[in-house]
């Protein structure tokens, strides 16, 4: 954490009387793959726009690259794929990419070379001289993604990158993101789909209704909120059912006969359950302390607040 790429410090953004983001702080270390998670309307896009200096916070501040700049004067070091993304429909793909590279400060020649290389790599080599209009949706998504990474940014910000993507484009984008992360690019992406974040991120920040619910390295969060779920596979027997029915140990059991998912009672430890099973002579073939899914942690923590009820993010700002 001693080399933060993004520091958001107690930031608040209001639209009229509605606070889209309230007292939010988060830190993204260099080289991290960082997930900004939350339901629709939680304030993810607003937060990202403030990081990009497209809008400015009412309170608090955002510092990038160790406090040396903001999203405007450092924009050449950042690649940003907004949630609402488009292309100039009448432009040739290559001209469009060169232009988008140019406004990131890349020279025309370098932008052209990089664009052609990426088009080739993502299987769009034959489409460079076609108008953006003539491309399929999936191809356009690839072009948008190329525009985001063309200038070799140190920080990549992807707002709901997989929303509306076809499976092929999703795969391509995921592979490229993982590849870039391996090469040291810091990546911030927002999503409301927890499964994606769980597989890609090493740190997350979960927000709901504009405020932070939890943040930190994914492993820490899981450790803090895990340990109360157990999976048992055993021979079907009355003694097994007896242990599962013991309310001092088990709060709730999803019992399939010779397989069960348990949620432990408050204060009970997995070790005690295993001891009880052995004592009762149950033949255990599998005993696993299950990690909670991010989805479950999210529902547990943000459940009451996460209900929809706040307006769509996109209608603001």
């Amino acid at each position: 954490m001693n080399d933060p790429v993004v520091e958001v410090q107690t930031v608040t953004k209001r639209y009229g009387s509605y606070a889209a983001v309230r007292d939010l702080s988060l830190t993204i270390p260099r080289g991290a793959v960082y997930g900004l998670l939350g339901p629709n309307g939680a304030g993810k896009t607003t937060t990202i726009r403030m990081i990009m200096s497209i809008i400015y916070p009412d309170e608090g501040k955002v510092a990038l690259f160790g406090g040396r700049g903001d999203g405007k004067n450092q924009s050449h070091r950042i690649g940003y794929l907004p949630e609402e993304r488009g292309l100039y429909k009448k432009m040739k793909v290559i001209d469009l990419l060169v232009f988008l590279g140019e406004i990131k400060g890349v020279s025309r020649a370098r932008a052209r070379a990089a664009a052609l290389e990426w088009l080739e790599r993502l299987g769009l080599g034959d489409w460079a001289l076609k108008k953006a209009d003539n491309l399929s949706k999936g191809m356009q998504q690839k072009v948008q993604f190329i525009a985001t990474i063309l200038h070799e940014p140190e920080l990549l910000i992807l707002d709901e990158p997989f929303a509306g993507l076809d499976p092929v484009a999703t795969q391509v984008m995921k592979d490229t993101v993982v590849d870039l992360a391996r090469k040291g690019t810091t990546i911030l992406f927002s999503t409301h789909i927890m499964e994606q974040a769980e597989r890609l991120c090493d740190s997350v920040c979960i927000i709901a209704r504009g405020t932070k619910v939890v943040d930190g390295p994914l492993a820490d969060i899981k450790r803090q909120h895990g340990g109360s779920n157990v999976i048992v596979a055993a021979e079907r027997s009355a003694s097994l059912d007896g242990v599962l029915a013991d309310t001092r140990l088990v709060k709730r059991a999803d019992n399939y006969g010779n397989y069960a998912e348990l949620e432990l009672a408050a204060g009970a430890r997995p070790q005690q359950v295993l001891e009880a099973l052995v004592r009762q002579g149950v033949t255990v073939s599998r005993f696993e302390i299950a990690e909670p899914t991010l989805h479950k942690i999210f529902i547990d923590l943000a459940g009451p607040q996460a209900q929809p009820g706040s307006p769509e993010e996109a209608t603001h700002a």
Binding site: S75, P82, E84, F99, Q144
Partner: protein, 426 residues
């Protein structure tokens, strides 16, 4: 700066390469030429001859003389019918039924009262044609004038000499020098400047509107503002479109000059007879003073910036092209006002209205160059007008830039005035 250049270059090249630019640039001169030539051809060929029946209840052969001089008018054939005074109404009513169904355009009623009381009556289908009526009136007036003198015993030869028409040649003086520019020529020049400025500001201003709406609806704008300051984007767009406008107008003016220089040949190509073509060729076109061109160009640029900024702000407030068309109405109205009052400016270029319109910044980009072309304008007024316009451009661009900055990222409901004020302040 490099980013701004990139935006300008994209805006310029994409437009110049589009087929609409090519079509527009080619069709412009064709259209302009057609607007000048077509009315001439239509006026000559269209409508055919007017056939008029003269109901003559006069004595002393006055009706015959009127009919004869009407017969000498171009495109007019007149036949005379003797009618007793008591029956003239009856006959006229009968004849009226034939107007329009047979080759009969109108009926002229002449009585002795025409000579004495100065009253004649014409009933016809073509009474709204100013040219026809002016010719008819002039002919009757001249005949009555001659008839009165004849009845008072004046020698017809003297009457003939008295009626030789006078032509007033008008030559404009500017800065104490005779310019060789006729009054008619200044009028034509002022009219042409009005037309060009109006079309150009409206055309290219609306293109800025379209460009902003396109970026907003295609949602590329958020990608752009993550790399550019909104003002860079706006400035690049306005300058890029403006450059396209200057290029297009340059081509048009050049084409216009070539057409004008070879107008006799063009007229012949369009099927005019050799004499008519020669006549068109010998008609002297107004020389265009360099100062007028510079002044018109300066006011065009400032006017274009002013309206482009307003169009951009309007476009940033809306979500779709349909909404934009509606929302632009107030801006277009500002531009239309001086056009509606143009006749007034042309008739009295030094009048109160012309002065006011040429000082108000929203109307001055068109009104001042028109005034300048039509008559001399004190240099102090030009300077004042320019200064006011410049300050307004700065102020409006600032406000428009603020609205644009927030508006391009705002989707959903169109903002009210209160909301807009917050955008500008925020």
């Amino acid at each position: 700066m490099r980013k701004l250049v990139a935006v300008i270059r994209r805006e310029f090249l994409e437009r110049v390469r589009s087929k609409w630019f090519v079509i527009g640039t080619l069709l412009g001169p064709v259209f302009m030429g057609a607007m000048i030539v077509l009315p001439m051809i239509m006026a000559e060929k269209g409508g055919g001859d007017r056939t008029v029946v003269v109901l003559d209840a006069t004595t002393e052969g006055f009706g015959e003389r009127v009919t004869a001089s009407m017969g000498q008018l171009p495109r007019m054939s007149a036949t005379r019918r003797d009618v007793p005074l008591e029956q003239i109404e009856e006959v006229a009513t009968d004849l009226a039924r034939e107007v329009g169904t047979t080759p009969l355009d109108g009926i002229l009623l002449l009585t002795d009262n025409t000579v004495e009381g100065g009253r004649a009556e014409y009933r016809g289908a073509n009474v709204s044609s100013m040219t026809d009526m002016r010719m008819l009136q002039a002919t009757i007036r001249a005949s009555v004038f001659a008839e009165r003198l004849r009845r008072d015993g004046v020698d017809p030869a003297i009457v003939g000499r008295a009626q030789i028409p006078v032509e007033l040649a008008t030559v404009k003086i500017r800065d104490g020098k005779v310019t060789g520019e006729s009054g008619e020529a200044s009028f034509v020049l002022a009219y042409a400047i009005w037309f060009l400025l109006y079309i150009a500001i409206l055309l290219y201003g609306a293109q800025v509107l379209g460009a902003v709406v396109e970026e907003k609806t295609s949602r590329i704008v958020e990608v752009l503002v993550s790399s550019l300051r909104p003002f860079q984007l706006l400035a690049g767009k306005v300058i890029g479109v403006g450059a396209v406008g200057l290029l297009q107008m340059g081509i048009w003016l050049l084409a216009g000059k070539l057409l004008a220089d070879n107008r006799a040949g063009v007229a012949r190509l369009l099927g005019q007879s050799d004499e008519a073509a020669a006549a068109i060729g010998s008609f002297s076109l107004p020389p265009v003073p360099v100062t007028t061109i510079i002044l018109a160009l300066g006011f065009f640029l400032l006017g274009y910036f002013l309206y482009a900024a307003m169009f951009a702000a309007v476009a940033a407030m809306v979500n779709t092209e349909a909404e934009a068309r509606q929302a632009q109405t107030p801006v277009v109205m500002l531009l239309v006002i001086p056009s509606l009052l143009m006749v007034g400016i042309l008739n009295t270029p030094d009048g109160q209205m012309a002065l006011t319109l040429s000082l108000i910044p929203f109307t001055s980009p068109i009104a001042m160059p028109v005034r300048w072309a039509a008559s001399p304008v004190p240099i102090g007024q030009v300077m004042l007008s320019l200064a006011l316009l410049f300050l307004t451009v700065v102020a409006i661009t600032w406000v428009a830039g603020r609205i644009y900055r927030v508006g391009i990222l705002a989707y959903g409901k169109k903002p009210g005035l209160k909301e807009l004020a917050r955008w500008v302040k925020g």
